[in-house]
């Protein structure tokens, strides 16, 4: 808590700065793509949020494992805090994808493997959040949601590859990768990288903020319990 007290403010400032610079640069100071026109600029929102939607679930998985193995209460609360942020990222990615797909593919939605697995990920997020809010005892809820997160991860990955089998894709491959020779042009790449860093920082800041309020909520409940007993 003491460390995060000091870190919170700068973290939000840096995250905000990176987002403003990355998205602002991307939106206003990059050339239009020769075929896609200005719609290409939605990449500065779509790619980072999609990346964070998956990373948020991965973080919840790690936090759930830490909770199940070490019984560290903060990790359970961090997993709980990350879920709504992750579901928001998923929604933004789906929405920006639809907005981009309408002029480019001629349709708001296509049952493409990537799109479909994102929709399934969204459903997993919903179930996870609903389970947290349905169980009253916090420790029971933490245990049950951790189990759900573990099994859900396995089946989210399974579904990701099962849908490949079911339908061929319309979505382009990865825009960025470390091991390919041909990548996106530097003009688009630098602002995209800054914007991705901004979303990572924003995610960390939001999760820290939400975890802190969860911890405080827990403390308040403990104090209330003690007073009722006394």
């Amino acid at each position: 808590m003491h460390l995060t007290d000091r870190v919170m403010m700068p973290l939000f400032v840096v995250a905000g700065l990176a987002l403003v610079v990355g998205i602002g640069w991307g939106f206003f100071f990059t050339p239009d793509d020769f075929r896609q026109g200005s719609t290409v600029k939605i990449i500065y929102l779509h790619v980072p949020t999609a990346m964070m939607a998956i990373n948020a679930w991965a973080m919840m998985l790690v936090a759930s494992l830490v909770w199940l193995i070490r019984r560290h209460h903060v990790s359970a609360l961090a997993a709980k805090a990350a879920a709504p942020v992750g579901v928001t990222m998923t929604l933004i990615a789906l929405f920006t994808g639809a907005v981009w797909g309408q002029p480019m593919w001629g349709t708001w939605w296509e049952w493409d493997p990537r799109l479909t697995s994102f929709l399934i990920l969204f459903l997993f997020y919903l179930g996870y959040i609903a389970l947290w809010s349905a169980v009253e005892n916090p420790d029971t809820a933490a245990d049950l949601t951790s189990f759900m997160c573990l099994i859900g991860s396995v089946f989210a990955v399974l579904s990701r590859y099962a849908v490949l089998f079911w339908n061929q894709g319309l979505h382009q491959g990865a825009t960025l990768s470390l091991d390919k020779d041909e990548n996106i042009s530097d003009v688009f790449w630098v602002p995209l990288l800054i914007s991705m860093a901004g979303f990572v920082l924003l995610f960390i800041a939001l999760v820290l903020l939400r975890t802190r309020s969860e911890i405080r909520l827990r403390r308040v409940q403990a104090i209330e319990m003690r007073e009722r007993v006394a």
Binding site: I120, L123, F124, L126, G127, A130, L131, A134, V135, T140, D143, L144, F147, M148, L150, I151, G152, V154, F155, A156, L158, S159, A162, V163, F165, W166
Partner: protein, 218 residues
Amino acid sequence: MIGLLKRDVMLAMRAGGGFGLALAFFLIVVVLVPFGVGPEREVLARIAPGVLWLGALLACLLSLDRLFATDYEDGSLDLLATAPVPLEGVVLTKALAHWITTGLPLTIVAPLLGALLNLPGEAAGALVLTLLVGTPALSVLGAFGAALTVGLKRGGLLLSLLVLPLYVPTLIFGADAVRRASDGLTATTPMLLLGLITLGTVAIVPFAAAGALRVNLR
């Protein structure tokens, strides 16, 4: 474990709820589809694999919320948890009982309903085989969902929200195998993948379900 299996199957049959109800539900879903999409035979034949699989899946879901709930309420689940049989075995047995009372009868009547939907005759064998292979996975995954929600008062709706996304791979491979068979293609690949999912699920998920039950009994 065999005693438990007998008891659960017996209870499901006598209570009149699970056994016939799932079948009737399956029938109704299949009968309602032509009203929704129109009676053209080609259209029905095209969507028949998906509709039959979806109907089986929903019928399976219907009786899940009582899988552990009744035993939880009258305390027999506590006794089962302290019994010498491991709780994982209890989960597996109960899932098996659920499969015998829903999955198996659904598999048996599915070809008849397939004929109602104008499913080509060659695909009927594939339909039976995929349901036979795939529905155990539905029961075991459902047992996991039921174990998660057993302590809740109104867990039914939450149960479907938790379980249905887990059914996606099973549904994809099951329906795809039938679709391939009805198009006259070989359905070996999706069939093997379906078997893979079932075996993996049966091997791993009971541990998670038993863990969730222990948490809820604490």
